[in-house]
Amino acid sequence: MSANDPHTEEVRRRQRARAKVMGLALAAFVVLVFFVTIAKMKLYGA
């Protein structure tokens, strides 16, 4: 299987797309935890 046969390229393409989605999800999670923390600190007056 050479590096640029159609099959390998399709595998790479899907891996890239999944990594991108996972990266976006993680970034969103970081933002979410930030806002949850702020809200919790206000709730409990910390």
Partner: protein
């Protein structure tokens, strides 16, 4: 069980990320999210926006996890039905382990995040709802009893209870009645559907009521559950848990539901093309649930 095609799908390609999204049944989620939000908005306590958003997100992810695990377990069955044969697993676009890992991971994540953002009661009910749908419904009862839909309905009835518990940290009579409402709504809703897609379920060997007990018995059961559902839909009003806006809406819509169920009972048709009353009942049932839950919220916010 002929599942060789399912156990050894082509593993040459990693699944496309869109198929993981499809695994969560995004279209079914609309009702889950909506009833969850309504349960939360009907509660006497109000969450800060960030926590409310997170709680609804957790309910959504939990429902997605349950759907993914359901498809992980039912891939052999889904392959036999026209409606479900195109799902990622039966179509061979994803291997079963990926679906299992995705489902378990998403479920655990949703429960932990719920505890972090709100309280352990909401997190516990969320965990119970996922386990109930996957273990009690999918694994245990769906293929064993024609009352499978009734059991499955209980799983779908949790969101308003979780939304309420996320806001208040308690379980109270109103969300329990809303739970009962969805629980009793599910059988008429799905049996109406199963009357006109009956042949598909028969092929897959799922003991749906029309297949096992016949059309007449199914139509009678639809009416019985419709009456019980109407009772629990109207109950919050005389009990003083909601106001007249909700009471009038629930009563009027339940009356229409009963009329449509009676029309179904009166229909002797055995062929799907003659099942107009069944199709109308199915269509109205979706509208009914949205409208009644909307009324709970409108009623609460107008009185406040």
């Amino acid at each position: 069980m002929n599942s060789t095609a399912i156990d050894s799908p082509p593993r040459t390609l990693p699944a496309d990320w869109r198929d993981f999204v499809a695994l969560t049944k995004p279209r079914v989620m609309v009702l889950v999210v909506f009833t969850g939000i309504c349960g939360m908005l009907a509660a006497p306590a109000t969450l800060p926006p960030a926590l409310a958003f997170t709680a609804i997100l957790c309910i959504t992810l939990g429902a997605g996890a349950a759907a993914a695990l359901n498809q992980w377990y039912e891939a052999d069955l889904d392959a036999l039905m026209k409606r479900t044969a195109g799902r990622p697993l039966p179509a061979g676009r994803m291997d079963r382990d990926s679906a299992l890992h995705f489902g378990v991971g998403l479920g655990v994540f949703s429960v932990l995040l719920m505890e972090l953002a709100t309280n352990w009661i909401a997190a516990a009910i969320l965990a119970v709802s996922i386990l109930f749908y996957v273990v009690i419904y999918t694994v245990w009862l769906k293929r064993r009893t024609p009352q499978n839909i009734v059991i499955g309905g209980a799983a779908g009835a949790f969101p308003p209870l979780i939304g309420w518990a996320a806001a208040t940290g308690t379980v109270d009579p109103l969300p329990l009645l809303l739970f009962a409402l969805i629980f009793l709504w599910t059988p008429p809703h799905f049996w109406a559907l199963s009357l006109f897609v009956r042949s598909d379920y028969a092929k897959a060997g799922v003991p749906m009521l029309p297949v096992v007990a016949g059309l007449k018995a199914t139509r009678r059961q639809i009416l019985i559950y419709t009456l019980l559902m109407s009772a629990s839909a109207i109950a919050p009003w005389p009990l003083g848990l909601t106001g007249a806006i909700y009471g009038a809406t629930a009563t009027a819509l339940s009356a229409i539901f009963v009329v449509l169920a009676l029309a179904t009972l009166a229909n002797p048709a055995t062929e799907p093309r003659d099942m107009k009353p069944e199709k109308r009942l199915f269509g109205f049932s979706v509208l009914y649930l949205f409208a009644v839950f909307g009324a709970v919220v409108v009623d609460k916010w107008l009185i406040a």
